[in-house]
Subunit: 288 residues, 2 copies
């Protein structure tokens, strides 16, 4: 039995869809039902449900966007840094393998050599390597809390998108923002991401950290061009002149824009589609 | 009614003694009794007990020393960074003034000018200004979580000591450590500290952050000389040749050694005794 925490969230819902479509037995537990932040209750839940694999899709991302984390700091720390530690303890105590939905937003730009960030590069957009957003700071500490964990996958997601219009979907965001920031990013098709996460477990790839973005990178202007081409929106797309103007006019917290290396997941056999292909497919099937 | 959280700890016990001696009505609540990490339960507790002032002496310090925080990261974050945010929410929701026992261990050394750190100097021994211990990182984030809180005192304690032999007492530690690190520090007499904390509220000094250390500073060698003079211990005191040797042989996490400026608490009328006087009095009354 798969135990899914955070099943009502944007990522958690996509795990549920995957399991429904593939008829994989799972149990999605809401915090209101069982307070899984309590280590003893989580151990009991794991034992009662005979969990064979646990997925943590719970976390605090901030709504409408990551700026909310600058205000709700305690909740953000609790969800992103403390909860992974609670789950680690419970899973290690019961010998339960598990996976944690982390974020690639603990990096900024590219490495000093101009290459994409590999899984073992230390975060450079974190409390320990400022500047960072509070959100990114807590996600990096969450990974630090899991350092040395046994039987644990750390799956790094970045800027999820798919074909379903949603305030959490990157493509919807680009369509709706008044003004955009030009930047190069690795991003994750949500369906590809959860499929790759679960494939890690199904294929018993070695435990550890995996960058699970669609291979390659994309610039905001490229995304706008694809939106224009496929959806023909009746609007102009404006861009901030610089990151400074963006920070001054639109954001409280700096944003992570970065490129991740995906060769580890490719070598492990859990690769996702190339990023441009995934975007084009999402726009072809777009559900407004 | 004063509501005391963390009343069973080293600092909390000293608050209890203060209230007992002065016949001040208070209620000390253990987490096992009421889970005050749950915002709704904390609000209910505040209302049921008609709390007029809340003191948070709860936190995670690590036993036998701060190195334990490098292992128990989630607990450390929960106690030192999340809990202050939960209490802030509950106190702001109920309009309850309160005080938080923070730490001066978010600084290292002296300022670039060679002066002691004032309350508004940004931490320089924290996740955002590495290196730091995990403990110090979480205490600095705890203060960040309280930034802008209304009706809130932040009381900075450092390296508590008094006349009672205890594994938590700095004088006991110096007496018992195999080898010592020479360093200059501001330190807090525990009784002076809790008296000064409560005086902030009694005298209604303006809310905000206060360095509550005994004015002045002390070197480890000076403390050893005083121990020799007053207690005449039958042992040699050895010192590490350098901080590098200390880190190599005795510690997992770097230690904060720093000097704090106490003019703000002095101006507010809640000053503590000069540090050498406080140490000498503790040694004169020493209870082995």
């Amino acid at each position: 039995m798969i135990l899914l925490l955070g099943g009502s969230g944007y990522v958690g819902s996509s795990f549920r869809s995957l399991f429904e479509v593939r008829h994989i037995p799972y149990r999605s537990v809401a915090r209101a039902e069982v307070d899984y932040y309590d280590p003893a209750r989580l151990v009991a839940l794991i034992e009662q449900t005979r969990t064979t694999f646990l997925i943590n899709a719970a976390g605090y991302t901030g709504k409408p966007n990551v700026d909310a984390c600058e205000i709700h700091k305690a909740e953000c720390l609790l969800g992103n840094a403390v909860l992974p530690g609670v789950i680690r303890s419970a899973c290690e105590a019961t010998g339960t393998p598990w996976g944690h939905v982390s974020s690639g937003c603990i990096y900024s730009g590219r490495t000093a050599d101009g290459t994409a960030f590999r899984e073992d590069d230390p975060p450079n957009f974190s409390f320990r390597r400022p500047p960072c957003s509070f959100y990114s700071g807590t996600k990096a500490i969450g990974e630090e809390v899991l350092d040395g964990a046994s039987g644990c996958y750390i799956w790094r997601l970045r800027i999820p998108f798919d074909h379903c219009n949603s305030p959490r979907n990157y493509l919807t965001k680009v369509l709706s923002y008044q003004c955009l920031l030009e930047a190069e990013n690795s991003i994750s098709h949500l369906g590809d991401f959860v499929t790759a996460c679960f494939a890690c477990w199904e294929r018993r790839v070695p435990f550890g950290t995996y960058n699970l973005t669609n291979p390659g990178s994309v610039n905001t202007r490229q995304v706008v061009d694809l939106l224009r081409q496929y959806l023909q929106p009746q609007r102009e797309f404006r861009f901030f002149a610089s990151e400074e103007e963006f920070m001054q006019k639109a954001a409280k917290a700096p944003r992570s824009n970065c490129v991740l290396d995906t060769t580890k997941s490719e070598a492990a056999g859990v690769a996702m589609r190339p990023v441009h292909q995934a975007i084009q497919e999402a726009l072809t099937r777009w559900q407004p």
